[in-house]
């Protein structure tokens, strides 16, 4: 399946992927209107940076996902095409998934349930916004073996 991959060689640490991610989650058409009132965004992709090295981290959509295995309510599921999605109605915020994800790619959301990258399948654009928003081609959405 196509996944989001990052290449730290080209990551500039501009954090724009985080903002495009947060924007995509709002399903608004104008970024300024969507995020103007937000003092601190809570994106599903996050930049890790230290000593001049930076890269974006989001859900790897593991073939054997520990978050799905650990989910006690079946809120996290892996679809037939491999995308791991969260059903907000079923999540009871036990945060087992947050503890079990080795990449730190699952995080609490404002509405109580957990949130994670769902490859923008539920957003208006349907394509990962971090990829199209990256100014330097450091985040790609592609098929790899």
């Amino acid at each position: 399946m196509k996944r989001v991959y990052v290449n730290e060689k080209w990551c500039l640490g501009c954090h724009l992927c985080e903002y495009y991610c947060a924007f995509a989650g709002t399903n608004e058409t104008d970024m300024a209107r969507a995020l103007k009132a937000t003092i601190k965004i809570n994106p599903k992709i996050k930049i890790e940076e230290k000593d001049g090295v930076s890269f974006a981290v989001s859900c790897r959509h593991c073939k054997e996902p520990l978050c799905v295995k650990g989910c006690i309510t079946g809120a996290l599921t892996i679809s037939a095409d491999g995308v791991i999605t969260i059903n907000h109605d079923r999540c009871v915020s036990c945060f087992t998934c947050i503890l079990s994800c080795p990449y730190g790619a699952v995080s609490p959301s404002e509405d109580g349930a957990v949130q994670k990258c769902e490859l923008c399948v539920k957003t208006a654009k349907g394509q990962p916004a971090c990829v199209s928003g990256c100014p330097n081609g450091a985040i790609v959405f592609e098929e790899r073996g």
Partner: protein, 501 residues
């Protein structure tokens, strides 16, 4: 504290209704113009540091930023412009020579803009390049005067080495050092894909780029940096740089601070030492001396590669070109006074040299008059801004053009003319690793390929309109040109008629 006489040239205009405080502007500005104030949750900026490179403007995701001309003004004076006054203030403060980058921005005539192209109507039908074949391939190099036959009566191949280009364009010389590794990689990969050539400039050739050799012109300049037999033989042609349009009569100086790591290795000089290119080649004081270097390089490359001699367009360019044509050079490249640079003294850049259009026309005419035009090909550079400029240059007599500023624009350059500061926010004219990585060659080379492909389409359209289906038929075809608003002298130098004639 001393009085600061200089008011910022630009102001950063931020639309606070659209700013979402993502801080991308702050993170992307190497000049540290933008700053986040957490107590206010607001961005502030220091206009005085802004060089107007548009990095923040281009990356702002909500289009909350623009750069505007500062409204501050001196008392109006047609003789003492604000710019002139500021330059005096700057020099009174620093005691130094003013430095500038990129091409001459001053208000001199742009002859290309005063030359119009012809098109066919009724009689000689125009050609649709989408339906009919259209040839833009050119060959550069000396052409034989006669057909020679061997004893068996068969034609002998007496053709000197040639460069084959898919279109009459090459990327002109920009050294590794003046521009970044990623900029060089973008140019090399684009040249390979397009079937044209790029030029190493005078900084030698990075070992990673030897594999693009057949699309490379290797340059030998007065500093002889990075020149060795393998270097000379790795390229498709060797260029002797006698002069540069942006700074005729002046050498180069890459500060020791930039001579680090790969650049020191590629230039073959110690880390931290200044790379000084002398104004003249210290072994060339005459055409005869030049001939010696031309033939030394031909010997070194086994007479398999054309030798280009590059000069700046100066007052007696036609006589100089005539000498070069007799020196054994295969190709003459002429760089006009609007050509770019990574750093030049402002007074030189803005006041020395002549327009490339006039230089080209007079060189082409002179070589024709002397019957030696076929001994050399002519490449012209120094602000070729569009495909229309290429068509005009070819019709004025050029075999090919050199482009660099347009190529840098394709890579993201916004002509802020601050290359000499070494803090290029677009990752082009810098060696700082965190800035160099901003230019991803995968994106850069594609944009160069796009630009040149677009220009090639346009060249074909314009040629088709004139009823010409091969660029060779356009070469020196000055009847396809007409001047507008030019005086008799200008028309006679350009060798064209006025519109309506």
């Amino acid at each position: 504290m001393a009085i600061n006489f200089l008011y910022p040239d630009y102001e950063v205009a931020r639309n606070c209704d659209r700013c979402i405080v993502c801080r991308a502007c702050e993170r992307q500005c190497a000049n540290e113009v933008h700053e986040y104030v957490d107590t206010l949750n607001k961005m502030v900026c220091d206009d005085a540091k802004c060089v107007n490179c548009h990095r923040c403007v281009s990356l702002c995701p909500t289009r909350a930023l623009k750069i505007v001309k500062s409204g501050n003004t001196y008392k109006e004076n047609m003789n003492w412009s604000g710019k002139t006054i500021n330059e005096v203030y700057r020099q009174a403060g620093s005691g130094g020579v003013l430095l500038s980058s990129m091409g001459n921005p001053e208000e001199y005539p742009i002859y290309f803009d005063k030359i119009l192209l012809n098109a066919s109507q009724v009689t000689n039908p125009s050609i649709d390049p989408l339906r009919e074949p259209m040839e833009t391939t050119v060959f550069l190099g000396a052409k034989p005067h006669n057909i020679e036959r061997g004893e068996d009566g068969r034609i002998k191949n007496n053709l000197p080495p040639q460069l084959k280009l898919s279109m009459p364009v090459m990327f002109s010389a920009m050294s590794y050092g003046s521009i970044s590794y990623n900029a060089h990689e973008s140019l090399a990969r684009a040249a390979e894909e397009l079937g044209i050539l790029y030029n190493t400039g005078e900084g030698g050739l990075h070992e990673d780029f030897y594999r693009y050799g057949k699309n490379t012109v290797v340059q030998v300049a007065s500093g002889r940096f990075g020149v060795h037999p393998q270097y000379l033989n790795s390229g498709a042609a060797v260029e002797i740089k006698m002069g540069q349009g942006a700074k005729p009569g002046i050498g180069g100086h890459l500060p020791g601070a930039k001579i680090v790591g790969d650049i020191s290795r590629t230039r073959m000089i110690p880390e931290g030492s200044d790379a000084i290119s002398p104004a003249p080649h210290h072994d060339i004081y005459s055409i005869e001396d030049l001939r010696q270097l031309v033939y030394s390089l031909k010997e070194a490359t086994d007479y398999k590669k054309p030798v280009i001699v590059k000069i700046a367009a100066v007052h007696n360019v036609a006589a100089i070109a005539s000498g070069i044509a007799r020196s054994g050079a295969d190709i003459i490249s002429i760089d006009g006074f609007r050509g770019g640079t990574g750093a030049a003294p402002t007074r030189i850049r803005d006041n020395v040299g002549i327009p490339i259009e006039l230089a080209l026309a007079s060189v082409d005419s002179r070589l024709r008059e002397e019957g030696i035009r076929d001994d050399v090909s002519i490449i012209v550079g120094g602000s070729i801004r569009s495909s229309a400029d290429i068509v005009r240059a070819v019709a004025l007599g050029a075999d090919c053009v050199y482009v660099a500023t347009s190529a840098l624009l394709a890579l993201g350059c916004h002509l802020c003319r601050s290359c000499h500061a070494g803090k290029c926010n677009w990752g082009i004219a810098t060696q700082s690793p965190e800035l160099v990585k901003r230019l991803n060659p995968d994106i850069g080379y594609k944009r160069l390929v796009n630009l040149m492909t677009a220009w090639q389409h346009e060249i074909k359209e314009m040629m088709g309109g004139m009823g010409i289906n091969s660029i060779e038929s356009l070469k020196g075809n000055r009847l396809m040109l007409r001047g507008v608003g030019l005086n008799e002298k200008e028309l006679s130098i350009l060798g064209i008629k006025h519109a309506g004639e």
